[in-house]
């Protein structure tokens, strides 16, 4: 359960340079794909691997690729979404900073599979120093004949560009990203048409996450069937988890999907348990957008089965008692954390990042933030709790892009699972300013 694929050579000194990366077996997938496989063969391998998009939605990558329209005479584009801004997620930064060539290798192989001759890496504005790292790596790849005209004598041309965003969370949404890349205001587009039909410059486009693209190289190297053996069920392969919060060893962990959540939190190989010997209170399992789960539900499902780190197991129980794997931003809260404050913090983030295009999200995120602020600072009313639930319902599903859902879920789930804490916060307005609620009596017996 500790197989490393993406981070296999992370500890090799100088792995960020072309020579070392090549020595460790890098760019093999490019050679294999360009010399022995047709583009459709590569797509087929990715399909066989069953890998699901690592950006958050978990859509099978091979399937997404096969939807790409291929009209004659129209260019196709591959865009890598490196606009990693989900609170709690920092895996792409690590990957690009430490092994930039891993991403570039994946980009070349994927672009070949999709028939793209120009590809873009859209990187978050705050990651400007990584842009420099990537550009250096791209220059090395050009110098060694892996980018540019006639790569490895195969007749395939590819140009790769890095484009920085200006620091908007919304530009991580694929159509807003494309708008931004085109030089416009980063507003999500109304779908359909989907990017696979009309994306960048109205041409067929695939947008994939950094981790997804980086995983293409190992899939081509080992073959799709072999990759599909890793993991559990329909959650194949390995996933980078950004672990943070009240744990002993925060950081990036590459796990094989299917690892028990309990092992991930308490094993010394991973998070190493809760800091200062405290008790687990809650976990946000996949970045701030996914529903927060209390300790009892994150360790065991509602059916009392062991909860695993996989797409299926984490979403077991739907939104009533489950959550999502999302982008793998694993945030752990100990018994002393205040769920109200945390929910307010998330709501503040979504209020700040709403693009303001469609009305439910533009007005609703601000409204939720203000109500939560009022509760957190001891001026709440008991009716506020139901109001929050109602507002979140009015936003959810009624917006152009998923930001509305992402803003509504954390609030709705926090109230669903921690209603007593919200009520305590309102009733004991003075006391709640001096100490935290602690654990629910119902949870006390269940957690370590």
């Amino acid at each position: 359960m500790s197989r490393k694929i993406l981070l296999e050579h992370i500890d090799v000194p100088g792995i960020n340079t072309f020579d070392t990366y090549r020595k460790m077996g890098g760019y093999r997938s490019v050679e294999k794909a360009l010399k022995t496989m047709s583009p459709d063969d590569v797509v087929e391998e990715v399909k066989k691997s069953g890998m699901r998009g690592r950006g958050g939605a978990g859509f099978p990558t091979g399937m997404k690729w096969s939807f790409l329209a291929k009209p004659v005479g129209v260019p196709r584009y591959l865009v890598c979404n490196a606009d990693e801004s989900e609170p709690g997620t920092f895996k792409d930064r690590y990957l690009m900073e430490k092994i930039p060539h891993g991403l570039i290798e994946g980009m070349i192989t994927s672009s070949y599979a999709l028939g793209a001759n120009t590809s873009y890496i859209y990187i978050r504005g705050e990651y400007f120093y990584i842009l420099r790292i990537l550009e250096k790596a791209i220059a090395e790849a050009y110098a060694n004949g892996f980018l540019g005209k006639n790569i490895l004598g195969s007749g395939y041309d590819l140009d790769l560009y890095v484009h920085p965003g200006a620091g908007a969370y919304i530009c991580g949404e694929e159509t807003a990203l494309l708008e931004s890349l085109e030089g416009k205001r980063g507003n999500p587009r109304v779908k359909p048409p989907f990017p696979a039909i009309a994306g960048l410059y109205a041409c067929p486009t695939v947008v994939n996450n950094v981790e997804t693209i980086a995983a293409i190289a190992p899939i081509v190297n080992m073959g799709g069937d072999e990759y599909a053996k890793i993991g559990i069920g329909r959650s194949t392969g390995t996933k980078l988890i950004s672990a943070s919060g009240h744990i002993n060893n925060p950081g990036i962990y590459e796990i094989e999907l299917g690892l028990p959540v309990e092992e991930f939190i308490y094993s010394d190989k991973y998070c190493g348990g809760i800091k200062n010997g405290k008790k687990l209170k809650a976990v946000v399992a996949g970045g701030s957008s996914v529903p927060i789960l209390p300790a009892n539900l994150i360790l065991k499902t509602a059916n009392n089965e062991e909860r695993l780190m996989s797409y299926e197991s984490l979403s077991d129980g739907g939104f009533v008692s489950g959550t999502m794997l999302g982008s793998g931003g694993f945030v752990v809260y100990d018994e002393d954390s205040c769920i109200v404050r945390n929910t307010w913090n998330f709501a503040r983030f979504y209020h700040h990042e709403s693009c303001g295009q469609c009305s439910p999200c533009r007005e609703g995120t601000g409204w939720m933030e203000k109500v939560l602020h009022r509760i957190e600072y001891g001026h709440g009313k008991l009716s506020d709790i139901d109001l929050l639930v109602e507002v979140s319902k009015k936003i959810e599903g009624n917006t152009i892009c998923p930001l509305g859902d992402a803003a509504a879920w954390p609030v709705a789930s926090a109230i669903r699972h921690f209603r007593e804490e919200f009520e305590w916060h309102i009733k004991e307005a003075t006391l709640s300013q001096t100490r935290n609620f602690g654990l629910l009596a119902a949870h006390e017996a269940l957690v370590k």
Binding site: A168, I170, R185, V190, H351, H352, E353, S354, C355, G356, Q357, C358, S359, P360, R362, E363, G364, T365, G366, W367, K370, L387, K393, K394, G397, N398, T399, I400
Partner: protein, 335 residues
């Protein structure tokens, strides 16, 4: 021409061209089943999808794939499929969502209708009358902006703006060069000319007509009169501007023409755009050829002191059932 496809909206079927949106299919049927639209404007390419008031439920995707769509969809953006079944006013879910949208729209929209020039012909006023709650649950300070004069003829009252983007599309598509746009993000977004530039071109006045609320108002008409005290009269003149149709509505108070606007249809959309000369400078009866009284939708407050009513609801020609249904509806309304 491709075969027509059949779509059923609230139990009424209609055959439309492939590629028609649900909203436009509903408009072909007419009547109460047409979803309200605050941002969609059929004359402006790319508009729509933003206000979310036109959300409808698709109960059956198509003949081939009868699964319902998982979420409510924006009817102004979703194309019909053959055999699609749409629920608008018959779906409680849709009405609930629409109520929510109206509540959201009114959060930062001041209810200053008594002093707003748009009152009486305001899409948001009509919408909240039909779908809104009587009071707001929002108890916080609202965002406020100062009034801005953009050019000598137009005033921007940003507080009232619901960010429908119509004026942005108008400037893009109708005028020569856009100098205003949306600045900032989220509920801090504002329509602005960035460094207080004036909007100055021959077609700029049209942004007043497309604005669904009172955010962009005509400075030559401001505070002169309430619209329901004026009498609209269709008129035209031979305008020498190539893009201007010269077809307008003159709004009379006694002998005076208080303002000139483009002609708006029953969905509040202008029939054709007019130039600034026609709009702002020709305010004498002698400039115009009068055609007759403007027909106003009977539900509009402007028709309250009026003499002429609108046509019976639009019907699909040759569709006996619809003609009959619309006749009944019309008689019910004028009673």
């Amino acid at each position: 021409m491709a075969d027509k496809i059949k779509v059923t909206i609230d139990g009424q079927s209609v055959e439309v061209e492939p590629g028609t949106t649900i909203l436009n299919a509903a408009r072909q049927i007419g009547g109460d089943i047409v979803p309200p639209a605050m941002c969609y404007y059929s004359k402006l390419k790319g508009s729509g999808g933003k206000c979310r008031t036109c959300l409808v439920k698709v109960a059956q995707g198509s003949e081939k794939d009868p699964r319902p769509m998982p979420k409510l969809v924006a009817s102004c953006q979703t194309q019909v499929m053959d055999g699609m079944v749409v629920e608008n006013t018959t779906s409680p879910e849709v009405l609930e969502a629409r109520k929510g949208v109206v509540e959201m729209l009114l959060i930062n929209h001041p209810l200053d209708c008594p002093v707003c020039d748009q009152a009486g012909e305001c899409d948001l006023q009509n919408l909240s009358f039909e779908h809104g709650a009587s009071n707001s649950r929002y108890e916080f300070e609202r965002r406020t902006f100062d009034k801005v004069d953009i050019g000598d003829k137009i005033q921007l009252h940003m507080n009232r703006c619901i960010l429908c983007y119509r004026c942005v599309y108008t400037a893009d598509q109708i005028t020569e060069g856009r100098v205003h746009g949306v600045l900032n993000r989220g509920d801090q977004s504002e329509i602005s000319t960035y460094i207080s530039a004036a909007i100055d071109n021959d077609f700029s006045g049209n942004v007043i007509d497309v604005c669904p609320v009172g955010a962009l108002t005509d400075k030559t008409f401001r505070f002169k009169n309430r619209v329901w005290f004026t009498k609209p009269v269709d008129a035209h003149r031979d305008c020498d501007h190539e893009k201007c149709s010269g077809n307008v509505v003159l709004w009379y108070k006694g002998e005076d023409v208080l303002r000139v606007t483009a002609r708006k249809d029953q969905y509040g959309e202008v029939e054709s755009f007019i130039c600034n000369t026609c709009r702002f400078e020709k305010k004498a009866t002698a400039d115009w050829t009068i055609e007759g009284p403007r027909k106003i939708e009977e539900t509009s407050v402007i028709s309250s002191n009026h003499y002429e009513m609108a046509h019976p609801l639009p019907v699909i020609e040759k569709n006996e059932v619809l003609i009959e249904a619309n006749k009944k509806m019309f008689h019910k309304k004028i009673k």
